[in-house]
Symmetry: C2
Subunit: 999 residues, 2 copies
Amino acid sequence: MELPDVLTMQDALARLAAYWGEQGCLTVQPMNSEVGAGTLNPATFLRVLGPEPWRVAYVEPSVRPDDARYGENPNRIQTHTQFQVILKPEPGNSQELYLGSLAALGIDVAAHDVRFVEDNWASPALGAWGLGWEVWLDGLEITQFTYFQQAGGINLDPPAVEITYGLERILMALQGVRHFKEIAYTDTVSYGELFGQGEYEMSRYYLDDADIAANRSLLQLYAAEAQRMIDAGLPVPAHTYVLKCSHAFNVLDARGAVSTAERATEFARMRKLAGDVARLWMERRAELDHPLGVCAPVAVPGAVDVDLVPRGPEPRAFVCEVGTEEMPPVEGRAAAGQLARELEARLAATRLAHGRITVRATPRRLVALVEEVAAREEDQDRVVKGPKAAAAFDAAGNPTPAVQGFARAQGVEVADLVRQQVGNAEHMVLVRREIGRGAPEVLAGVVEGAVGALRSGRNMRWNDPKLAFTRPIRWLLALWGDQVVPARVSALVADRRTRVLRTAPAPEITVGSAESYVETVEAAGIVLDHADRRSRIIEGARALSAGVAGHVDVDGESGLIEQVAFLVEQPTPLLGGFDESYLSLPEAVLATVMRKHQRYLPVRGADGRLLPYFVAVANGPVDADLVRAGNEAVLRARYEDALFFYRSDRETPLAVMRERLTRLTFTDRLGSVAERADRIGSLARRLADEVGLDGPDRAVLDRAAELVKFDLGSQLVTEMTSLAGTMARDYAAHAGEPAAVAEALFEAERPRNTEDALPRGAAGELLSVADRLDLLTGLAATVGLPTGSSDQFALRRAALGLLGVFRRRPVLAPVSLRAALGMAAQLQPVPVSAEVLEAVAEFVTRRFEQQLTEEEQPVDRIRAVLPHADRPYLLDRILAQLAKQVEQPGFQQLTEALQRARRIVPAGTPAEYDPGVLVEPAEVALHDALVLARAGLGDAPDLDRFVEAVGGIVRPVNTFFDDVFVMVDDEPLRRARLGLLASVADLGAPVLAWEHLRM
Amino acid sequence: MELPDVLTMQDALARLAAYWGEQGCLTVQPMNSEVGAGTLNPATFLRVLGPEPWRVAYVEPSVRPDDARYGENPNRIQTHTQFQVILKPEPGNSQELYLGSLAALGIDVAAHDVRFVEDNWASPALGAWGLGWEVWLDGLEITQFTYFQQAGGINLDPPAVEITYGLERILMALQGVRHFKEIAYTDTVSYGELFGQGEYEMSRYYLDDADIAANRSLLQLYAAEAQRMIDAGLPVPAHTYVLKCSHAFNVLDARGAVSTAERATEFARMRKLAGDVARLWMERRAELDHPLGVCAPVAVPGAVDVDLVPRGPEPRAFVCEVGTEEMPPVEGRAAAGQLARELEARLAATRLAHGRITVRATPRRLVALVEEVAAREEDQDRVVKGPKAAAAFDAAGNPTPAVQGFARAQGVEVADLVRQQVGNAEHMVLVRREIGRGAPEVLAGVVEGAVGALRSGRNMRWNDPKLAFTRPIRWLLALWGDQVVPARVSALVADRRTRVLRTAPAPEITVGSAESYVETVEAAGIVLDHADRRSRIIEGARALSAGVAGHVDVDGESGLIEQVAFLVEQPTPLLGGFDESYLSLPEAVLATVMRKHQRYLPVRGADGRLLPYFVAVANGPVDADLVRAGNEAVLRARYEDALFFYRSDRETPLAVMRERLTRLTFTDRLGSVAERADRIGSLARRLADEVGLDGPDRAVLDRAAELVKFDLGSQLVTEMTSLAGTMARDYAAHAGEPAAVAEALFEAERPRNTEDALPRGAAGELLSVADRLDLLTGLAATVGLPTGSSDQFALRRAALGLLGVFRRRPVLAPVSLRAALGMAAQLQPVPVSAEVLEAVAEFVTRRFEQQLTEEEQPVDRIRAVLPHADRPYLLDRILAQLAKQVEQPGFQQLTEALQRARRIVPAGTPAEYDPGVLVEPAEVALHDALVLARAGLGDAPDLDRFVEAVGGIVRPVNTFFDDVFVMVDDEPLRRARLGLLASVADLGAPVLAWEHLRM
C-alpha cells in the first residue's frame, strides 16, 4: 500500500515510550494474558495499591471481544493498542506532562483544541474507580485521564494518575486516514496489511465461533484457580486468573451468552476476587517491607514572610481564586455557590466590614470577589466576669483573696477591675479592649476555612495531604487590594499568581491587585462569567449558522449550551459540516451523536429539519481550520459507523433481526430475549381480549405483537441502545409495515423514563404494559424484587411506567393490576406463586403511593384512595373527585356522619339488621334514608355519585344520634340498631377508606 | 538498592528495538497469552511461513514453569525476557547485523570472544526446526541464532533467520552482577525489586500450587477449541489455543504430572494442531494474495568479464576456498574430505595435468590446494566413426551417398576422412584434433561441480536459490596462479576476495595468487590447518597449566581438543580459574560442566585430581583479561548453581528424595517413578532368591533395593540427568550408607550406553537387570514395543543393557530371560499377557542376534547357538566352545556324522526304537555307541563335553551307513533303524542347532 509521509504508529509508540522514560517511567511489557485494558495489567492494578512510588509506561494491546467487527468497521477493532502511563504519587503537573507527550508526538497543542472533558471511570468487576477526563483533540477522544481512587475496593493512598492513550484513534487523526486499516504502521506497512487477517479471524471467533460451553467451563476453572491462589495467599497468580475470568466472561458476552442475572453474579464474583487479590497484595508488600520504598508526603510549605498589616486604612476589594483542574460543569457551578456561601458565613463571623460578594466559575477556577473590604475589624470591648462585688472586698475595704486571685489570673491589678451588673448580681469585671485584626489576617482565616470546606457531589483525593474535591485544586490566589492574603490550606499557599490558558504565551501570570484581577485575567483571554460565555456561544452559533441559512434552536439546546459554557474558558464557536448523505440517517441518530457524544449544536433549516452543519465550541485561540477539520472527521467517523449499521440493518429482514433475539439471553431462568418478546406479544393480546379491543386497532396490535423488540437484534440499537423503539419504527416502516404498526413498536418502549411521553395508541399501550408486567413478574419470581438502592433490572422504573399507562389511559381502566400480573405470571417459564404475585402488587402499590406523594397529594387523601391502587385509573378519578369534594361543606358533614356511625360500632359488627325490630322514628327514618341511598349507588366506585346518593343520609344520622340511645338492654333492639349503623358506615367503604381522611 | 552506573535493562531493550528498527524491522508486542519462547508468537510462527517478506523485532517475556526457582536461583527464572528478531528473507549478512546489535549494546566485539557455536533447534510440538548456533560471549550463551527451516511441518521458502537474545544473561554479564535480582532494570530500580515477588509467587503456582485436575481440564478445553477453529478454517484463533495448550502442558509438566506416555500423546496432538494451523495460514495468505507481497529471489549475477585464457604457459598452483558461516566441527571435517574427493574425481575427468591435492578446513572455510596445475589441457585426437569403408565408395571409387552424408554432417570433405579399423570392421573415420582448454576454464567447471555437490549430514537452505549445505556458503575464492577462476555456483561468483576474522581491521582481504593464498590468509591470523590449531591448543594448554603446577590430560581430552580445534580459526588458549571451594563438588559434576557445557579443558594436578583451573580457547586476538573474566563468571555461575543443588541435596535425607519420586509420573498406566523403583527393588530381591544370593551381598542388595533411583528426586540430577547413579553413590555415602550399598546404587544405572562399563557387584547387577526387565515388560504391555526408528523409551538400549549383564555375569547364568521377564510381569500394575511376554523375549533375542552380528560372529554359528538366547551366559560359552571346536578335524567329522543321520530321517520320525529288532553288527555297534555317548552327556548344555561324550559315535555312524541299508521292506526293522538314526541326530539338539552350521 502507498503510505503518506507521516508519523507512523511504530514511531509514535517509540516516542511515547521515550518521552515517559525521560519522565522517570519504567517500561514494562504488556500482560501475557488477554486483557480488556491496560488497567488490568498488574503494573497498574496491583502497583497502584499501597504506599510504594510507581511510575510506569507500557503498551497494552487491549482485547474487547464485543468490539469485534471482522475488520470492516473503520473505527472498531477487537484488539486496540493502548499506551498506559501510571504516575504515583501524582506529581501535581500531570496534565502538563501529558500535554508534553502530545508535543512529543508532534501535535501543536496551541493550534489544536485539546480539552479535558469530564469522564469518570469505574470498573465494577475490579472494585475500582477514579475521577478524570477523556481528553479531546478537536472533538476526538484520544486519551482517558483518571485520578485513580480505589482498586479492589481499597482506597488508594496516595492516589495515582492513570493516562491511557488510544493509539489507533490518535494515529488516524494525525495521519488523516478514515479507516484503521489505512494507518501507516511503518513507512512500508499498513495496519491493515499487518493486522487485517487477525482482526477478521478473531472477530469470527468472538462473534460466531467461540464454543459457549467451553468458555463457560474456562470461566469456572479460572475462577476456581483464582480462589485457590487467594486461599494460598498468592496474589500474583490469583490476579492472572482473575484476568482470565474477565476475558472468558467477555467472550461469552460477545457471543450473547450472558444473561443479566449471570452478568451480575459474575461481576460480583470478580469483584470479590479482585478485592481479595488487592488486599493480599497489600499484605505481601507490607511483609516485604515495601521493596520500592514509600512515597514521601507532599511537603507542606513552611511559614512565609508576608505582611499581615494592612498597608493603608482604606477599604479595598478582595479576590480569592481557587484554581483547579477541569471541573465537571455541574460541579463547577455548584462549587461556586458553595464558595459564596462559605465566604459569606465566615466573613459574618468576623468584624470585618465588607460590600457585595460575587462569584464566578469557569472549568478551571472558582472566583469570589468582595467589594469594599475594610482594612481592619472594628475594635470591641470584651467583659470578663469576676467575683460578685459583694464578695470582693472585706469589711475593711481590702480586696478579698477571691478578687485578688481573679485579677492575678487576668494579669491585671485589682484596681483595673470595675463593677458591673451581670444577671441578677453586681460583679467585679475586667473590661478588655480588643483591637480589630487587619484585613489580610482576617481574610486568611476566612479563605482557609472556605477553601478547606469545599466539597463536591463526588470528591477525589490527589497529592494534597488533606484536601478532597471534585478535581485537584492546584493554586490559590488571594488578594486584598494589592496585598497577598497569607492563607495556607494544606499544601496550598495563596499568592498573586494565577494560570490562564495552558496554551497562552505566558500560561502563568501575576495579578497586581484585587481590583485589577478581572481585567488582568480577562486580558489573558479567560471569560470569567459563565453568562458571558453563554452569550458568546449563542451569538457565535447564531452568526455561524446564519451563514449557512440555518439556525440553532437556542431554547431547545439550552441545557447543552449551559454545559458547553462550563467546558471552556474562552469559547470559540466554529462551524463544521458533514456530508449531506448522512442526512439520510434518522434525526434521532444524528442528533444523539452531535449532542450527547460530541456536544455540538445541531444547525437546523427554516423548517426545523437538520442541516448538514454543526457548531462546535473550542477553547481559546485555536487554528480554526485545523480544529474544524478534526471535528468534522470525528463526526464523519461516527456517522459513517452509524450509516454502516443503519444500511446494513435496513437490508436485513425484520424477521432476521427478530430471530437474532433467540441468541440473546435475557436471564438464565427466563430464557432468551426472543422468548421474552413472545411473552410480551401474547400478554398484550390477552389484555386486548380482556378490554375488548377489536377492529383496526386489534389488527395493528396483532402484527406489532409479532415484531415487538425486533430492533434489539439490529446493529444500530446494539450500538446505541437508547434508540430502541425509535429504530423499530424506522425499520418497520422501511420494511413496508403499516404506519400504525411501526408506531406501536415505537410506543411499546415508552415511557423510557419518568420524563418520557406515554404511548398514545391502544396497541402501543398494551405492548408497553405487557413488557413491564412480564419484567416484574418474571424477575420477582426468579431474581427477586429490588431491595435497598440496587435495582439492576430497573424494576422500579418498570413499575412507574406500568402505572403511567394504567393511570392515564382509559383503555386499561377495566383491568385490575393484580389480574394483569396474574396473566403475565401464567406466561412465565417458571412458576410464580401467589405470594410472589402479591409481593409484586404490593411493590407496585408502594411506587404508586410514592408517586402520588411526589405529586404533592395530601397524605390523608392518598391513604383514603389507596385501596383502589389495583385500578390506577379509577384511583386517579376518585382522587380528583375527592379533591373537589373536600372543598364542599356537605362532603365534610357526610364524612363526619359516616365516621360517627363507624366510631360507635364495635369491630366485627355485622352490617345487617331486622328493620321490623326498629321502633323509634329517628331510626326508622335512618333506615328509610339508607334504603334510598343504596338505591342511588352504582356498581363502580364513584365519589361524586356516592355523595349525591348518600348525601341525604347526613341529617337522619344526626337525628338518630340525637334521639336514639343505641346501647339499650333490649338485646334484639340493640343488635338491630348497631346493625343499622354498621350498614351506614359500610356504605362508603367501596369508595374511600374514610378513616384516613383528616377533614 | 544502590545500583552501578551501567547499561540498564530498560535501555538495553530500547537500544535493541531502535537498532533493529533501523534495519527495517517492525516492532510488535509480546503475545497476550503465556508462551515459552518468542518463536511461538504468531509474529514468528505464522509469519515465517510462505513467500511474504517479514522483518520484525519484539520483546517476549517467556514463561517456563519448569525453570521456576522461587527467585532463589541466581540464573534461573520462570519468566525470562527474550528479544526476538526475524529476518525473512535472510539478508546474507545476518551474522554481521547481529554483531552490530551487540555493538549497539556497547559491547566491544573485538575485545570479547564472540563465537557461533553449533546449536540446532527443533520443537517437536511445533513441527519446527532450524540449524544455527548459540552465540557465546566469553563462554556465556547470550543468543540463539537459527536459520529457521520448517514450521508446522512445512518447509520455509524462503527460510528466515531467527535471533533470540536472552536479556537477563546479557545484562548480568554486562553489569557484572551475580544474581538476576541484582540487574539494574533502570538506574533506580533493580530487577529483583521489580519482579522478585512475581518470581516467587508464580514459582509457587507452577511448582506447588497449580491444580492438576484444573490444568488438565484446561488443556483439553484448549485443544478442543484449537481443533474447532481449525475445522472452521481460522488459523489465528486456532494458533492462540495451540499456545494455551502448550502452556497448560508446561504447567502440568512442572507439577510433575505428565507421564512419558502422556507427553508423547500431547506432543503428537500439538504437532498435529500446529501443522494444521500452519497449513491453513498458508492457504489464507494465498487467498488474501499475500498482503505483504512476495520475496524477490536473490539475484543470480550476470556474466562477468573474466579472462579465460591462461596468462602464461607454466603450471601454476590452484586454490579454491569455500567460505561459510561457522560449520559444526563434525561437518567441517567431513566436508573437507568431500571437497577433496569431488575435486580429485572431477579433475580426473579433464585432461588437465596437476600435482598433489591437499585440503584444509576451519569453522568458516573449506580450502583445496592443488599443486602444479598445467596451463592447458593436453590436446587430443578424437575419432568420429563413419560408414564402413566397404560401403564408402562404389565400384567406380566414387563416394557413396552414405559417406557423403557423413562428411557433410561433420562439416568436412570426404577427402578429409581416413580409413581406420573400428571393432571388427574398417570404417571411414574423421580424426578431430581437440585443442585443450585453458586452466581457468577447466577449473571453473571443476569448482562449479564440486561446490554444487557439497552436502553435509544435515543440510539447510538459506537465501541462495539452489544450494543446500550444513551452513550458508557466503563466498567463493578460486585462483589459478594469479588468475581468477571464473566459477559461478548458483548466486556465488568466484573471485580473489576472502574473509578473515570478523574482528580484524580488514575483515575482507584480497589474495594475489594461489601460491600466496596460504601466506596471505595466515598473515591475517587464520590458522588453516586443523593439526596446527590442535598443536597450538595443546601447547598453549600445556604451558598455561604448567604455570599453575598442573597439566591437561591431552590423551584423555583428545576428543574435546579435536572439537575445539574446529570451533576456532585462530586458537587463543587462556587459563581461567575458579574458587577452590567448588572442588567440593563431585568430579563428575565439575568435569561435565567444563567439558560438555563449556568446552574447557580441565587442569589436573600430579595426582590426576582436578585443580581449580581450566583452559578455555578463544578465537583470535581478544582482550585476554576481559575474556578470562567472562569465562570465569560463566563457570562460577554454573558451579554456583550446581553447588546450590548439591548442598541442598546433601542436606536432604535419602528418604525424602526417595519420597519425591511418588510425585514424578512414570507413565499414566505404570504409575509413579516411586512405584517403578519399588518394582525394581522387589524384582531384584526375587532374582536374588532365584540365584541363591546370600551373606553380605544379600544385605547390600536388600538395602540398595530400598533406595534404588532415589537420586532422581535430587535437584542436581533433575538438572543434569546424566549424573543419575553417580549422585546416588555420592549422596548415599554422605548419608552414611555402607560403601557397597552406595556402589550398588551407582551400578544399578549401568550400563548407560553401549560404551559404558557393566556393573561388577552382585547387588548392582541384579538391580540393573531388574530395572531393564521392568521397563521392557511394563512398556510392552502398555505402550508397545518400538517399531521403526522411534524408540522414545529407549527399549532397545534397555534390551542391550539387560543382555550385557546376563551375558557377562555368571551370577545370572541360572536364570532364563523368559523366567526373569515373567517375574517382572507379575509385578506390573497391568496384566501382561503370555503373547506380550513372548514378544518381549523375541525382541530381546533379535537384539542379541544383532549384537552378535556386530561382534562379527559368523552367521552360521550365531544361528547354531541362538536357541540358547534365553540363557545368554550359556550361549556365549557355547559360542566360544564352538569357535574352538570348528578348528578341530574331529568336530567337523562329528558334525558331518550327525548331519548324515539327520538328513536320512524323515521329519517327524520319533527318536525311539526297539534295540532288540536291530540285527546288523554295524547297527548294533551304533546302538552301543549311542548308549555310551548318552551316558557321557551332562545336564547342562556344554559343547566341549558333548564333543568328548559323543565324539566316539563318528566311526559307528559311518560304518552304519557303509554296511546297513535303512529302507528295507521289513517294516519293524526299518522303523527301528530310522529310530536309531533319529536318536543319533537328536543327541546334539540340546547343544546346537547343527543344521545351521556351515563347515
